[in-house]
């Protein structure tokens, strides 16, 4: 899992300032230091959400990384 792949926020715990971020079938918990909501696409590094990403850019990036992963497997 490359940390530059955007993930989708599927749950936010505002008391703990944490969010669950989904990457396909994998889920990771990350700390938030700014407001995020369910459905937002984010970049996580070292267990913190470092930025939000517009949906169109996120989908472009996910497509790019999935293509590269496929080529590595081949």
């Amino acid at each position: 899992m490359c940390y530059a792949i955007p993930g989708k926020v599927i749950e936010v715990d505002s008391e703990k300032n944490e969010a669950i971020v989904e990457y396909g079938k994998e889920k990771r918990t990350a700390q938030c230091f700014f407001e995020v909501k369910e459905g937002d696409y984010v970049i996580v590094s070292q267990k913190i959400i470092i930025k939000k990403v517009p949906e169109d850019e996120a989908k472009e990036a996910i497509k790019f990384f999935m293509k590269n992963l496929d080529e590595e497997v081949k």
Binding site: M1, C2, Y3, I43, Q46, I48, I50, A61, K63
Partner: protein, 159 residues
């Protein structure tokens, strides 16, 4: 600051990407991180090995300026000017990168809007975007100050 350290403070933030890609082992990454946080730097040979793609561009600058690749001005020129231009022009591997990744790769000048000192985190804004970055290298920076950011790190204060 030595040219090695100056190169390293800007290069280290992308080492995490190299770790997750499998280009660096966890042990190699941890050794680099220790030096990064302790105001130290690997030697020139090690830096040229780990961050080899950068030296293709640094060599080009050194030839243009007619200076050694480890001349401080050459390293400074790379991180403060040429690096973003290479990304914007889509040279080399950047031709394929999506905008999300290019934005993380670019060096940005960002303004501090909040400090989370217990976690060594700064919330910064740049180009109408916000980002959370680690503050280890700029412990004295205050809200309103400007810092250079690369990936998940604030690298140095803007004078």
């Amino acid at each position: 600051m030595t040219p090695e350290r100056y190169f390293f403070i800007y290069a280290f933030p992308c080492a995490y990407l190299k770790l997750e890609r499998g280009d660096l082992t966890k042990k190699e990454y941890e050794l680099l991180e220790k030096k990064f946080l302790n105001k130290d730097s690997p030697d020139r040979r090690e830096l040229e090995r780990v961050f080899s793609p950068a030296f293709v561009w640094i060599k080009r600058i050194s030839e243009r300026l007619n200076k050694d690749i480890w001349d401080f001005n050459v390293i400074y020129e790379y991180w403060n000017k040429e690096h973003n231009e290479i990304i914007n022009n889509g040279e080399g591997k950047y031709s394929e990168y999506p905008e999300v990744l290019k934005d993380l790769c670019r060096i940005h000048e960002a303004e501090i809007v909040r400090k989370q000192e217990d976690k060594n985190i700064l919330l910064v804004k740049y180009n109408r975007k916000q980002r959370a970055v680690f503050s280890h290298l700029v412990p004295n920076a205050k809200i309103g100050d400007k810092v250079k950011i690369h990936y998940a790190y604030a690298v140095e204060e803007v004078e």
